[in-house]
Symmetry: C2
Subunit: 184 residues, 2 copies
Amino acid sequence: MRESGVKERILDTASRLFYDQGYHVTGINQIIEEADIARASLYNHFPSKTDLLLAYLDSTHASWFEELDAFLKPIEGPREKLLALFDFRIMRQKRYNYKGCHFNKITAEASDDQAVLARVKAHKERLRKLILELVDQTMYRSILNNEQLADTLFLLLEGGIAVGGMYRSSEAPEKAKQIAEAVL
Amino acid sequence: MRESGVKERILDTASRLFYDQGYHVTGINQIIEEADIARASLYNHFPSKTDLLLAYLDSTHASWFEELDAFLKPIEGPREKLLALFDFRIMRQKRYNYKGCHFNKITAEASDDQAVLARVKAHKERLRKLILELVDQTMYRSILNNEQLADTLFLLLEGGIAVGGMYRSSEAPEKAKQIAEAVL
DNA sequence: GTCTATAAAATGATAGAC
DNA sequence: GTCTATCATTTTATAGAC
């Protein structure tokens, strides 16, 4: 009972700080202070800072797609769902103060850790696959084939969020959505 | 004479390490060791690590556009120049081992430093402006107006490089170029 | 399981001789 | 201008009492 509350508080605090400030700039000391737990409790639940990082990535990945599922559920039609993907990410960026994609951000910091890279890639590939499935459900025809259209949407999404992160603004992802609307 | 050689060596070494490993994970000790200079020499030329960071961004920005100018010069026609932008960035990614955009990467680390954010934004806006100028020189007509087309290319570029950085591969920017070819 | 105290190493930065 | 020696903090992580 108490244990799970503590573990959750550690992970929540670490997650917030890792994204907000960055991974390397966030020290164990700050985490235990803001989570209001004892030093050894952290190391009891997470043997090292790297374990905490991987737990952060795993939980973020899981909640990201859970939240997306709930977001897309009431929306009807593959085209509308595809456009809603932009809204979903814009909404999340607003919530987290426009610092860009969680996975893009951690890649910039923990760039040589294969366990990190594997998780980042798995996360993005799942999104790309979802987009392709939705595109396949549309009756889309043009100079681009379905896979190219899916990649277009995926890259517009990633580009918009990345630029939004650099500009600290929703302008780029909003434009990306408008382009997607014109293309679809 | 010696001074300028030293200063240059410091900046070159720091630039390489900041991009390769990350800013926060690169210590002053490593820089002075790999640049083979004395500790105080670094602080003589760069009062603080932050000054070194800003010098890194400024020199990277300058050499980036210098190199791009030379790259685009022999290429004829705005459409070909626009497509060459993708080649330029793919070439640079290959050279630097596919770790993504320098400016995107530093934003993920030094995210609350306004001096950093301003430089990142200036760099990206200059690229976006260049793309728009080239688009204006084409006789392009479609569902997208010129500014939207420029943004499309810009976002495809940024998305491709960002995803390429996360995947450590040139696959995404190559696809982005193919899409640009189909769209233009 | 949680706590406090502490270790061992690395951090950014400075002092003072040459 | 460059050098070596060093400072005060902060880093991740562990030991041992409760």
